[in-house]
């Protein structure tokens, strides 16, 4: 086994493929240690007199016993088995994986931020609170909203928060509205959050050109509708140009309009949700504001609301005392929906988003939107013939192509994705949104260069050709990775969700 353990360079080689990369548990040897902690001092009372038998652990947890060297090699190599934005592009539609500036990491690591205790007196947190205050003002300006809560740890929690505020708003007016409308192209978190907030999700179909069907919408609108959740540009990368009509229609029946900020990247500085008529907005700072996504998290999903909804925000809210010139948390919020996070949300991520905001400034923020849309359209036209977009015309920051024309060669979207890996690219999002057959959803983001985009386009065009000439090549892909097409059915059938000793 040790030969495997030492097979570092093989991570980069054909060689590894024949060997299993060990689990940390498989490196364990009794008595080995990486830990280094002070002793309990002798003059402190003993465990036995302090903790009764029945509260003591019977069998110690079977954690691995490894040296620091083992630990470091294991996780260093594990990291080398992973793609990352620092390694290459992630043109995943709907994900907005842009480059994460390093300066933001240094900012978040400063002791004044990273070692701050969440229960410390406001007096001790003035710098942190001022930072949040400036960030709130800037995000309100960018969204056209009145106030923000930073408690939501991610977009989905922001949605949940927004929907509960929606509920509180209607209840406050003595109404019990039951339904929330979402387009059929909506992201899964939308309907899930709707259900979790105790509403019924009602889907409205898209028109053939990928937009909300106004008539269909009008039909379902009544005073039982609490609101509509929309991301604009929508998940197809198209701007809902009837947004004003939609807003009017919603407001006419007393419903609220919720903006899913996952696609905010494409309009920041160009158009504000508030000006489109939205009442509630969540932002995914880990998308638009470039914070590292850590292999699936953390994120930060601050929720912004218009003036009339402010009093329903989660408690506490941040306030500035002009007299004392100090910042502080106000817990006295009788109409609040309550708390949504143990503390103040993903503060460390908000520090990074703040550093990004201050680095870009107003012009930089607008250029983000411009170049995100520029990159998407450039890629769109470069692959148009090989992978026609599902909907015609200029797209915003992303677009949805279809691989269905390759079906006749027995090639699926997955095959395209896996082959792309061998050509050195991370694939786009596949099979989403569900409304498009064999969907390839592509979002290059603004931080990728034209060279990268042309390289990706060349690879995709080459693959379309290979689909005809050599479909098997695609079915066998990828050939360049530590593993190839893991069996997901098997994983779900024969459950192995944790290591267990043989």
């Amino acid at each position: 086994m040790s030969a495997q353990v030492e097979a570092g360079v093989l991570e980069r080689s054909a060689g590894t493929r024949d060997r299993a990369f060990p689990l940390i548990f498989e490196l364990s040897k009794e008595g080995r240690r990486a830990w280094s902690l002070p002793d309990a001092s002798d003059d402190a009372p003993g465990l036995d007199e302090l903790i009764p038998r029945e509260h003591r652990r019977a069998a110690p947890p079977r954690l691995p016993e490894v040296s620091e060297r083992d630990l470091v090699r294991h996780f260093t190599r594990l990291s080398q088995r992973n793609w990352a934005i620092d390694v290459g592009a992630y043109p995943l539609g709907s994900c907005t994986m842009k480059y994460n500036p390093k300066v933001a990491e240094d900012a978040a690591a400063m002791p004044g931020f990273s070692l701050l205790h969440p229960h410390c007196d406001d007096e001790l947190a003035q710098g942190a609170l001022e930072m949040l205050g400036i960030l709130e003002r800037a995000l309100c300006e960018a969204t056209g909203m009145a106030r923000i809560t930073f408690q939501p740890a991610a977009g989905a929690q922001g949605e949940m928060t927004g929907l509960l505020i929606m509920r509180a708003f209607h209840n406050d007016r003595g109404e019990e509205r039951k339904r929330v409308i979402i387009p059929d192209s909506a992201h899964g978190t939308n309907p899930a959050s709707v259900a979790l907030a105790g509403f019924q999700a009602q889907e409205v179909p898209s028109t053939t050109d990928g937009l909300v069907d106004l008539d269909a919408l009008e039909e379902v609108l009544d005073t039982d509708v609490a609101g509509l959740m929309l991301t604009n540009p929508n998940t197809l990368g198209l701007f809902e140009r009837d947004i004003e009509k939609i807003a009017t229609a919603l407001h006419r029946v007393g419903a609220l309009l919720y903006y899913d900020g996952a696609n905010f990247n494409s309009i920041v500085g160009v158009v504000r949700p508030g000006d489109m008529g939205f009442d509630i907005v969540h932002l995914n700072l880990h998308k638009t504001f470039a914070t590292p996504h850590g292999g699936g998290g953390p994120g930060s999903g601050p929720l912004a609301v218009s003036q009339r909804l402010e009093r329903f925000l989660p408690s506490p809210v941040l306030e500035f005392d002009p007299g004392a010139e100090t910042w502080g948390w106000n817990h006295d919020r009788p109409d609040s929906i309550g708390r949504i996070h143990s503390f103040h949300g993903n503060f460390g991520i908000n520090v990074r988003a703040y550093a990004y905001l201050r680095s870009l400034g107003p012009e930089g923020l607008r250029r983000v939107a411009e170049h995100a849309v520029l990159n998407a359209n450039y890629l769109r036209v470069l692959i148009q013939d090989a992978f026609p977009t599902a909907y015609p015309g200029t797209c915003m920051h992303e677009f949805v192509s279809s691989a269905k024309s390759l079906k006749k060669h027995g090639v699926r979207a997955t095959d395209v994705a896996k082959r792309l890996i061998d050509l050195g690219y991370h694939p786009p999002t596949v099979y989403f949104p569900l409304v498009v057959e064999e969907a390839l959803m592509v979002e290059p983001t603004e931080t990728e260069s034209p060279e990268t985009i042309r390289g990706l386009a060349d690879a995709l065009v080459q693959i379309a050709r290979e689909a005809e000439s050599d479909p098997e090549l695609l079915h066998q892909a990828p050939q360049s990775t530590p593993v190839r097409r893991p069996d997901e059915a098997r994983a779900a059938r024969d459950l192995r969700l944790r290591w267990t000793p043989e």
Binding site: R17, F25, S28, R33, A34, L37, D39, A44, L47, I51, E65, L71, S79, A84, L92, E105, P111, G112, F113, H117, P118, H119, D121, G127, A153, A154, T189, S193, F199, R241, I243, G269, V270, V271, D275, A290, P292, G301, G338, H341, S342, F343, F347, G348, A355, S359, L360, G364, R367, L374, N375, T394, T429, T447, P482, R484, P486, A491, L495, L497
Partner: protein
């Protein structure tokens, strides 16, 4: 400084290829009527050196555990973050990677998450853990939703000694679903008398141990009674105690949830933290959030993938077990590295030092005239110190003397407005405890 690679030549060239005259034309689909006609009114761009000076200035106006000896608790603790853990968890390949949708390019994150799940199961004596949730509070809320789905009941009985901010989040989460949350009070010993509570018709009993007062509770009793009543037992616990204290699994709990930041992640003013969630295998299809699983690849090699996705929002949509999508994977990876750094011996040492040094500190502090330890009985790493004065004011005074204590308990328990939490981690030295005691004495003398 923006981070855009485009030169002006690039832009021209690309616009030509697209067939548009100018950048603004890209936004033609947006009706002029809603467009922003002005520049955003946000602070101007800063160069990197200017930005760092500005951030340093802000940071210098926040005083954390770097400058104060931190005895503060209440859900966040000043534990040692090993240098190796920080170095490994911050590797760019982990930090700047996205959700592992393409397993071939994500074995690093997927295996690390699988190891995390395995470690958490070992810790809590459970059979399945997920890839993390937002924090301890949302983990509790998700556990309650699981119990509600599993039992078809809507009543939840929660001990008053569960961190009140967690309970607040639980209330918020459950408000939409209209669950009935019954809080049961604690005795003069700071623990709930679980054998005396009516649990009929409950979906779940929520017991905290160590509880918000740092005191251990009778999880086994709560679990037995919950099961007798046909409900589940959810235990809110502390991973750093698991080397010494009985695990929720050993005590019969069905779900263990906890705040996991202490495993390799700094206090960072309350986030990003990591919600730990583990339960029994028969409940796996009710588990919220992502789960990594082991399988074989096309060539028969061991491989890891995201599995049981039919539970999740992107497949099941409105019927999903939860709405969680982005979670706290990077913190989970840090926790996996930290637990591997500790091993069983290190975890036991950590627990022992916390318990014994907390007891010693409690003894010292209760020597202060007018001060007592409010609750008797076994504690883990924090105690409630009752003082003769308003705790919030006292804490402010202590901060000026270089000691961070609290939180004051008045906000959570009006009857405890003279009380505050004192937490003692492995990082606190004997001198610091002595210093804290003197600081309290001085503060009291001045009142």
């Amino acid at each position: 400084m923006d981070f855009l690679p485009h030169t002006s030549d690039d832009v021209t060239e690309m616009l030509e290829a697209i067939g548009l005259p100018e950048v603004d034309a890209l936004f033609d689909p947006i009706p002029g009527s809603v467009r922003l006609k002005r520049r955003l009114d946000v602070p101007p761009s800063l160069s990197e050196p200017e930005l760092l000076s500005h951030m340093r200035d802000l940071a210098s106006r926040s005083k954390g555990a770097g400058e104060l000896a931190c005895f503060a608790g209440g859900g966040a603790y000043d534990h040692h973050v090993p240098s190796a853990v920080r170095a490994l968890a911050s590797r760019a390949e982990f930090a700047t990677s996205y959700t592992p949708y393409q397993p071939e390019l994500s074995q690093g994150v997927l295996q690390a998450v699988f190891e995390f799940q395995s470690l958490i199961c070992e810790l809590f004596g459970m059979e399945v853990a997920n890839a993390s949730l937002y924090d301890g509070a949302s983990a509790l809320a998700e556990a309650v939703n699981l119990a509600v789905r599993a039992t078809g009941r809507e009543r939840v009985v929660v001990g008053s000694t569960v961190n009140p901010d967690y309970v607040a989040v639980l209330r918020t989460y459950s408000s939409g679903l209209g669950l009935q949350i019954d809080i049961v009070g604690h005795g003069s010993d700071g623990a709930v008398a679980w054998d005396e509570i009516d649990l009929s018709g409950t979906a779940a009993v929520v017991v905290g141990s160590p509880n918000v007062f740092g005191r251990l509770e009778e999880v086994a009793v709560a679990a037995d009674r919950a099961h007798a009543a046909g409900g589940l037992c959810i235990c809110v616990t502390d991973p750093t105690a698991m080397g010494v204290l009985r695990s929720p699994g050993e005590a019969g709990a069905d779900v263990a949830v906890a705040e996991g930041h202490a495993l390799g992640n700094p206090m960072s003013y309350g986030g990003p933290y990591v919600g730990l969630f583990a339960t029994k295998l028969d409940l796996v299809r009710q588990v919220p959030g992502r789960i990594a699983g082991e399988t074989l690849d096309a060539d028969g090699r061991r491989a890891y993938v995201l599995t049981l996705q039919a539970r999740e929002q992107h497949i099941r949509r409105a019927k999903a077990t939860s709405n969680v999508c982005t979670n706290q994977t990077l913190m989970a990876i840090a926790a996996a590295v930290h637990l591997s750094w500790l091993g069983p011996q290190g975890l036991a040492r950590l627990g022992e030092v916390c318990i014994r040094h907390t007891a010693r500190a409690a003894a010292r502090l209760s020597e202060i005239p007018g001060c007592t330890i409010r609750f008797e009985g076994p504690h883990f790493k924090e105690v409630v110190l009752e003082t003769p004065v308003d705790a919030a004011k006292l804490i402010r005074g202590l901060a000026r003397r270089g000691y961070l204590a609290g939180p004051p308990l008045g906000r959570w328990f009006p009857e405890l407005s003279n009380c505050m939490l004192i937490a003692v981690t492995e990082r606190r030295t004997e001198d610091e405890v002595a210093g804290l005691a003197e600081a309290i004495e001085k503060e009291l003398a001045e009142r």
